[in-house]
């Protein structure tokens, strides 16, 4: 049996006032937990994938603040009680897909019953100067994975590939200049084309390895970078755009919230039927491509 999605929560921030990673995550995770068949005590692992978070905390893992805020086994001092391991998994916009595989492996190995993955990337402008825009759509996202049920729905094999020779096409960092921190985003002007080239190569390898072809899929769920990126992907894959989930904003990147937002779109609007197969395609700095399948 595969590991499947129990619940998704998302929160899109549209206010002009400042927000925090913790607030974005809280507003996505609370309804996610309420909707899930798993209780808080069942959540054996909590993974935060937000690369950009409040105060740019290095220590402890931001996930421990989230665990405490959501009250998930946060006060279980007796080690015989239900426990949760919280940690950060950082890998650009690939974090959510990586974390899905980590929860899958931890459930498979019998270590946990269910896992919660959260993201809430923000640029903390109280701490640093504005530089080139992050282009993020401020969003909180949460997803609970588990193995309940007897059907064959759930994730298939995961595949990740890094095209290290393209690494310089995107980088972000903080540095300290003129007595202020500055967050820098350096992107190649051709970054979306570079992502598409990487997807083309990575996807070809994945399909060959898993002996799949594009006709096997009812849905394509790509990284929600921009409307332009998704149009480019439709052309590249020569697929009917109605099969491609597109919840991208015109110019802002859903980043780590891409996968949960796209999947929630299918679930919430009853678009995916039982037995439908989806191809999930992630792309991120590095340059990395990640692929998996999901059977509804």
């Amino acid at each position: 049996m595969s590991v499947k999605i129990s619940a998704i929560g998302r929160f899109e921030y549209n206010s002009g006032s400042s927000t925090s990673s913790l607030e974005l995550i809280r507003k996505a995770a609370r309804p996610c937990i309420e909707r899930s068949e798993y209780s808080k005590e069942d959540i054996g692992v909590l993974i935060n994938v937000s690369v950009y978070r409040d105060n740019y905390f290095c220590e402890p893992a931001f996930a421990s603040f989230v665990q405490n805020d959501l009250g998930i086994n946060h006060d279980k001092e007796d080690s015989s009680e239900p426990k949760t391991l919280s940690f950060d998994l950082l890998n650009g916009a690939m974090g959510f897909l990586n974390a899905c595989q980590v929860v899958d492996a931890m459930i498979d190995s019998g270590r946990v019953k269910a896992g919660l993955i959260v993201s809430g990337d923000v640029i903390d402008y109280e701490m640093n100067e504005r530089s080139e825009d992050s282009r993020f759509q401020l969003s909180g996202a949460a997803m609970i994975l588990g193995r309940n049920g007897t059907d064959d729905s759930g994730f298939g094999m995961f595949y990740f590939r890094t095209f290290a020779e393209l690494q310089d096409a995107y980088e972000s960092y903080i540095s300290f200049n003129n007595k202020r921190l500055t967050m820098m985003f350096r992107r190649s002007p051709d970054i979306e084309r570079i992502y598409l080239d990487a997807v083309s190569r990575g996807l070809k390898e994945f399909l060959a390895k898993e002996k799949l072809n594009m006709d096997d899929f009812d849905w394509i769920i790509p990284q929600q970078i921009s409307q332009g990126f998704i149009s480019g992907l439709c052309e590249l894959l020569a697929v009917d755009s109605s099969k491609v989930v597109n919840v991208a904003k015109k110019d802002s990147d859903l980043f780590n919230a891409s996968l949960p937002c796209a999947l929630a779109h299918l679930f919430d609007n009853d678009l995916a039927k039982k037995g439908d197969n989806a191809l999930i395609i992630g792309v991120a700095s590095g340059i990395q491509v990640g692929c998996t399948t999901y059977r509804f």
Binding site: N55, Y56, H74, L90, A105, D108, R111, S285
Partner: protein
């Protein structure tokens, strides 16, 4: 499906520079009136060289790890970077993207590996072991490498500028040292070697007892604010209870059966913890003979601390082939964990590379 995992290789890099506790205190703008060396037992700590940063520490540890391993970088199915510090260039440059693991994929051939960063304070390398061991047990991967480069003395440099109180929240920043560590975790079917038991978990209600972030002062830099009294009190009590529960009824209950390696913060903290464990267990789990104290010349090297201690005590021949180790994990968060481990011939393979001919000399002498 394999039974579990074993540390197939270990590589540690210790920078050549040293900073004594006396020098560190003398460099403070407001010299604190405390006996830091007396309280912590730390005499000196390694410090990075000029233009040496987190990724340099990581690369050197990875190179050493592959020198000892039978594997090559392209044999790795997974790469996890577990460092807390992200200090990677002049002007306090700290990289966010790509991840450190993705950057290292360019230096080593990790292109086909599952890779990501997984910082979890000083429990980072053990959390990575727990995650990677799950992948190995589930049959998803065969093996992988866990890497951490900790450039931490930048915290000490900020503390030298900012410490102003007799009991200052930055005192813990004066205990840290720099290092790099990398280990290869490989699947094994043997029940005699590797990790017999492994757990890590988070008691997040104590998440605010140690915070690492950026200084908001004009000079910039990285800072760590620690409520040292509370974090030690909480962590020691919880560790004692958790370790005692884990060893009860096993051979690990007796100090003569294993080496005990816990997180290396200060000599007195290690002594207090071992006494508390014995008191909780009602047996001598830890003794002066089996407890590894490595903090005196290495400082607290955060996520690498257990493995720097293992490396040093393999090299000084305290820890040998086939012996048992009881690891106790403690970190901010608060994370706790215990791992029961039996070594294969890794000590001999490390010595064969680090000190060629030494094992033959020992054998001949005996």
């Amino acid at each position: 499906m394999v039974r579990g995992s074993v540390i197939e290789s270990l590589g540690v890099y210790i920078p050549e520079g040293r900073l004594t506790t006396k020098e560190l205190l003398e460099g403070c703008r407001n010299k604190p009136n405390i006996d830091l060396e007396g309280i912590t037992g730390i005499k000196e700590r390694p410090v990075v060289g000029e233009n040496e940063y987190v990724l340099d520490l990581s690369r050197k540890a990875v190179s050493k790890c592959f020198e000892i391993s039978r594997y090559s970088p392209e044999d790795m199915d997974m790469v996890i970077c577990a460092n807390i510090s992200r200090y990677n260039g002049p002007d306090y440059k700290a990289n966010f993207e790509p991840s450190n693991a993705a950057i290292l994929a360019k230096d080593f051939d990790f292109s086909n590996a599952i890779l990501f960063d997984e910082p979890n304070a000083c429990a980072g390398m053990f959390t990575a072991i727990y995650v990677m061991d799950s992948f190995i047990r589930a049959g998803i991967i065969r093996r992988g490498i866990i890497i951490s480069g900790e450039y931490l003395t930048c915290l000490s440099r900020t503390a030298q500028k900012e410490i102003s109180q007799p009991i200052d929240p930055q005192f813990a920043s004066m205990t840290v040292g720099d290092s790099g560590a990398a280990l290869i975790l490989d699947g094994t079917n043997s029940k005699d070697i590797g990790f017999h038991d492994l757990d890590v978990f988070t008691i997040a209600k104590h998440c605010d007892l140690c915070i690492g972030t950026w200084s908001k002062q004009e000079h910039g830099g990285f800072v760590m604010y620690t409520d040292s009294v509370r974090i030690h009190s909480v962590a020691i009590g919880l560790t004692a209870e958790h370790v005692a529960r884990n060893v009860k009824g096993t051979k690990w209950e007796q100090s003569s059966n294993h080496h005990y390696i816990m997180h290396q913060t200060a000599v007195r903290a290690i002594e207090t913890t071992t006494n508390s464990i014995n008191s909780s267990a009602g047996t001598e789990v830890c003794s002066p003979d089996n407890t590894i104290v490595n903090v005196i010349h290495r400082g607290n090297s955060a996520s690498t601390a257990h493995f720097v201690a293992l490396w040093d005590h393999i090299k000084n021949r305290t820890i040998r082939k086939g012996e048992n180790i009881l690891f106790a994990v403690q970190s901010s968060g608060i994370n706790l964990g215990v791992a029961k481990y039996t070594l294969d011939d890794l000590p001999e393979r490390i010595l064969a590379i680090e000190e060629p001919g030494s094992l033959e000399r020992v054998a001949n002498a005996s």
